[in-house]
Amino acid sequence: MSEASNAGPALLDVRDVSKAFGAVEVLRSVSLQVKRGEVVTVIGPSGSGKTTLLRCVNFLESYDSGSIRIDGKEVGYREAGTRQRRSERDLAAMRAETGMVFQSFNLFPHLTAAGNIMLGLTKVRGKSQAEARQIAEHWLGRVGLAHKADSLPAELSGGQQQRVGIARAVAMEPKILLLDEITSALDPELVGEVLAVVRSLAEDGMTMLMVTHEMAFARDASSRIVFMADGGVSAVGPPKEILAEETTNERLRTFLARFRASHF
């Protein structure tokens, strides 16, 4: 696999990360670099470890070996190589540097759209209520929901909830945004509005690592695509190369053929 495109310093540097749930190896020596401003998309069949990989990056999951660094700093453990887990306080501080958007939105149901965004800003970033409110309104405007600032999640459509989810993540000004199948739980007609927001963030230069089944979107928005199979990275490259029908990677070809058959 050609790694020539990774000559610059990586913002996210995943090296040889392995993880097993009991006897099941979900990640097998996964390595992956994301440079500042890059949008990297992870595709692959379900059960290939995509989501687990993403959850390891902000240490929602621990891993058994290997190293994950963001901006040169080891994420979950005190030092690369040691298995000494960071303190919860340290972990919280590390996680504040990454934003995450979830498949099932995971908004806080007791807080309004603005409240969801303000929680991290006030409690983690130490901003005043007024300042946090201003930032929340700014981001709600960016995702087209300025008029919904005081609505509770239950009063919003799935697409609107997910846009609040995105606003909540980016308002923290994370170094990297992790998007975990963020359109999979949405009705088809709501997918577009969410992807439009992601696209505009990409245009702003937000660094992103995303797992998605939206191949057309992956092709248009990604700098690179990573194909995972059986817990390992099977192919990495620019979208044109990875999504080409004549790819020589057997597993990738099967995956894409099956995907095309079911989606077109």
Binding site: A93, L119, K123
Partner: protein, 221 residues
């Protein structure tokens, strides 16, 4: 049936019932407040603790739930001062007992509520960088409260009625007041009719208030 209802004697001694009701409410409020603190602390501890602590908390809950309250009341009021050099009044003794008793029930209510908070919400709290304590206060407890409110209302009403057991150690609450009037006037039907009505009405008012709170929170779900 030659029994003619006559409430005159009841009204003459109504202060015993009214004062009793106020004391019943006081006993309930204090005990439930202490019990809620016990329940919350132990429930939060339980869900984050290891096996030993869990076993100890579970043993407390099981013990209390399997012993009749009246026995616990006797045990604390007559038993404990016999063994240990401690003196306390009957009301204090009862509040102590009902607090520990309600704590056990409330641990269960809060624990199941905490465990019912969707994992995704906790993940979201982690992802924005909240510390474990902040996640508890700002994410887990508010959602838990929403989930447990109906069960909580039922438990509170039930505990209010349980204050009647304080009468067995002569705490002058509502049921004791009723017994006093009965012994002194022999108007057994009248006094228990009035007392029942008083429990019923108070219970309804409490329930109504709690349902209002529930509705407010449910709207905010």
């Amino acid at each position: 049936m030659g029994y003619a209802l006559n409430f005159n004697l009841i009204w003459r001694h109504f202060d015993k019932l009214w004062g009793g009701l106020l004391l019943s409410l006081e006993l309930a409020v204090i005990s439930i407040a202490i019990g809620t603190v016990i329940g919350l602390v132990l429930a939060v501890w339980y869900v984050s603790a290891g096996r030993v602590v869990r076993a100890i908390i579970a043993a407390y809950v099981e013990f209390i739930r399997n012993v009749p309250l009246i026995l616990l009341v006797y045990l604390v009021f007559y038993g404990v001062p016999t063994v240990v050099d401690l003196a306390y009044s009957a009301p204090t003794s009862f509040v102590l007992t009902l607090s520990v008793y309600s704590g056990a029930y409330l641990v269960e209510v809060f624990r199941s509520g905490l465990e019912a908070v969707p994992r995704g919400q906790l993940d979201a709290g982690k992802a924005i960088g909240l510390t474990p304590w902040q996640r508890l206060i700002h994410v887990r407890l508010p959602t838990m409260l929403r989930i447990t409110l109906p069960a909580l209302s039922n438990t509170f009403i039930s505990l209010f009625k349980d204050t009647s057991i304080a009468s067995v150690i002569s705490v002058p609450e509502l049921t004791f007041g009723a017994q006093w009037i009965n012994f002194n006037t022999f108007r057994i039907v009248e006094v228990y009719l009035v007392t029942t009505a008083m429990y019923l009405l108070t219970g309804y008012i409490l329930l109504f208030g709690l349902r209002l709170v529930e509705r407010r929170f449910r709207a905010a779900r």
